[in-house]
């Protein structure tokens, strides 16, 4: 297992390099001179030249990339054009806010999705199954910004506060009512994932329940509950885990809108603000961090995949 993890880690290196190249190219792929864009249309040439100098835009591309990469490795993501603070500091606390939001949402979608999917599969072709699947279809089709707005519209009046408190803040301010502040954003963000996971779990469970080894388990006199939760579920989870990994990625993307709607000061909002103010170093930083997070989550998925299915040999 350790060997597998090490090998898998080594394999992420090319992916990470690819990510840095993409992020690096962002600045250069945008039409026009980045320095000019940052400085503004009417800025004097001297100021533009200063920015260009500061960002190292006069060096040849490979030198720029080399510096960029070196900086990343040492944790230096450059300076925000707007606030002049280091990008790493800008991202800093906001990163954890977003991760927390994403993790809560993932937990909720996995939990709801699995339960709904299992019930649907075990009771397939009953009214309950049909209802669950229709609800899931709605959950899947609803854009999350719309869902967020609707939730605010209907629940946010009174003590359902829309602003976000992080776990740390909550702990500091005492649990009290503050957990409520987590509820709406997490529902907004987690619904689509729950729906996808429910559908995936259902079809995966149905397939597994039809397998010969399930019949073998029943023929041994195993209780139906154990047949479902031990013999079937572990096999059915294998494809579901992949979906969870992908969902986490989609969820990170979803935070951009959700954070904006619920006025949560996370990375999503930071990205939007940075794009709006053409704060390229910050855009680069956030994209890079989110990508790294995604790569990391996929690594976790692969490891849990391996844990579930001993058969996967990565060579």
């Amino acid at each position: 297992m350790t060997k597998f993890i090490i090998r898998r880690l080594i394999q992420t290196i090319p992916v990470l390099l690819g990510v840095t190249i993409l992020v690096f190219s962002l600045m250069h792929l945008i039409p026009g001179d980045p320095a000019q864009i940052i400085a503004g249309e009417s800025a004097p040439e001297r100021q533009v030249e200063q920015i260009r100098e500061r960002l190292g835009l006069n060096d040849p591309l490979h030198v720029q990339y080399g510096k960029f990469l070196g900086n990343i490795v040492t944790g230096d993501l450059g300076q925000s054009v707007r606030s002049s603070r280091p990008v790493a500091d800008e991202i800093g606390t906001r990163f954890w806010v977003t991760v927390e939001l994403a993790v809560y949402s993932t937990i909720v979608s996995v939990f709801l999705g699995l339960i709904a999917g299992i019930i649907s599969a075990v009771r397939h072709y009953t009214v309950l199954d049909v209802v669950i699947m229709i609800v899931a279809l709605f959950g899947l089709s609803m854009p999350n910004f719309w869902l967020g707005l609707m939730l605010i519209q209907y629940f946010s009046i009174g003590n359902w506060m829309p602003d976000w408190m992080s776990f740390m803040q909550m702990r500091a301010s005492g649990w009290g009512d503050s957990w409520k502040q987590v509820v709406l954003p997490v529902i907004t963000l987690g619904t689509a994932g729950a729906a996808i996971i429910a559908r995936m779990t259902r079809s995966s469970m149905l397939e597994v329940i039809g397998q010969d080894y399930i019949r073998t388990a029943r023929a041994k006199g195993v209780k139906e509950r154990i047949v479902i939760y031990r013999h079937a579920l572990k096999n059915a989870l294998i494809p579901v885990v992949t979906v969870v990994g992908l969902e986490f990625g989609a969820l990170l993307g979803g935070t951009v809108l959700t954070e904006t709607i619920f006025a949560i000061n996370g990375m999503g909002r930071l990205t939007i603000d940075a794009i709006r103010t053409r704060d390229f170093p910050v855009v680069q930083g956030t994209v890079l961090v989110i990508s790294l997070l995604f790569v990391f989550v996929n690594l976790l998925v692969d490891i849990s995949y391996r844990f579930l299915n001993k058969r996967i040999e990565l060579d």
Partner: protein, 343 residues
């Protein structure tokens, strides 16, 4: 204490599948019996209902399938009166079952040892450690080399023959009175088949077990069984001791099967196939189900379903030829111009 003569008696078993297109009678009035310690072969081609019969015995049918009627007397008690909980106590404990596909019949995500231990933990209240020790013992019993190592392996690490041995170990862990083997060697190569049949035979004697062998292979029947039930289109058409069946088959279908069979042990001129195909369950003939393919069929056969007729050897045949009412040639020769080739 034994108030029963046969370990298993099946009477008029009826199993149907209720599909959107209506009822499909997969098993329609099947009866047979199995004396203790003996082996009964249930033989038939695809669609004969032999596997459904096997699953019905343990009530393992899945959704649209349902047992409609009949009796399954195991040690004198009707299993169809049992609750699901009582049936669970029978399965894997008193009656075990092994299946055709050893590749897919084991759960890929659990170790071999766990899968054997499971029955032991359920039925014999062993703890994990005891169950594992017993599992190793079972693996040794079924002839798996280095069982201490194999016990922690996953099914995909074993060959097809090994997996079938594991299935047998699993089935026999709780020392059942009866084993139902559903085409246990069909997916295996013939040299491996020989090993597995040998193993079943050896363990049957050792554990004093009764066996039901579901198969399409008449060679397997001849070599392993004491009694045979030949099934056709959901019914038993001939129930006989194995010797009579091969020496003097009585039902025209059994005769046809034996004459269709290409043999490796003797030289045959030409095969004599049964004409036509098995009727689809939706278009079952009114009379004898074999009548459209039977060379001897008369209006009586086509018009009315024959019952089971018992002959002087206590064997049963579902065929009008052997009844008082037979309206055809009294000297009818169902064997054709030549007897079934003999050695």
């Amino acid at each position: 204490m034994s108030t029963y003569k046969n370990i298993l008696e099946v009477r008029n078993l009826q199993t149907s599948f209720f599909t959107d297109d209506g009822e499909v009678k997969a098993v329609d009035g099947v009866s047979f019996e199995l004396p203790k310690g003996k082996t009964l072969g249930v033989v038939g081609e695809s669609g004969s209902g032999k596997s459904i019969t096997a699953l019905s015995l343990l009530q393992l049918l899945s959704k649209p399938g349902k047992i409609k009627g009949g009796e399954i007397l195991f040690k004198g008690k009707n299993l169809l009166d049992y609750t699901e909980k009582q049936m669970r106590e029978i399965r894997g404990n008193d009656i075990s079952m092994i299946f055709q596909e050893p590749m897919t019949s084991l759960n890929p995500v659990y170790t071999v040892g766990y899968q054997i231990s499971e029955s032991l933990m359920i039925h014999q209240n062993l703890n994990k450690r005891e169950a594992k020790l017993k599992s190793i013992e079972m693996l040794k019993l079924v002839g798996i080399p280095s069982p201490e190592k194999r016990v922690d392996q996953y099914p995909f690490e074993l060959s097809g023959g090994m997996r079938q041995r594991v299935m047998i170990a699993m089935a026999l862990a709780c020392n059942p009175d009866m084993l139902i083997a559903d085409e246990p060697t069909t997916a295996l190569d013939v040299t491996i088949q020989a090993q597995i049949l040998d193993l079943i035979r050896e363990l049957q004697a050792k554990l004093d077990m009764s066996v039901i062998m579901i198969t399409h292979d008449l060679g397997v029947v001849a070599e392993t069984c004491d009694y045979v039930a030949v099934m056709y289109a959901g019914q038993v058409v001939e129930f006989s001791d194995v010797r009579s069946l091969f020496k003097k088959p009585k039902h025209p279908y059994t005769v046809g099967l034996l004459k269709s069979l290409p043999r490796h042990d003797i030289e045959q001129e030409k095969l004599q196939p049964i004409k036509g195909t098995v009727p689809s369950p939706k278009e079952m003939p009114v009379g004898c189900r074999f009548s459209p393919r039977c060379p001897a069929a008369t209006d009586l056969c086509r018009g009315r379903m024959p019952g089971l007729i018992t002959d002087e050897q206590k064997n049963e045949i579902r065929c009008w030829i052997y009844s008082e009412e037979w309206d055809g040639d009294p000297e009818v020769n169902i064997y054709g111009e030549e007897r079934i080739a003999e050695g």
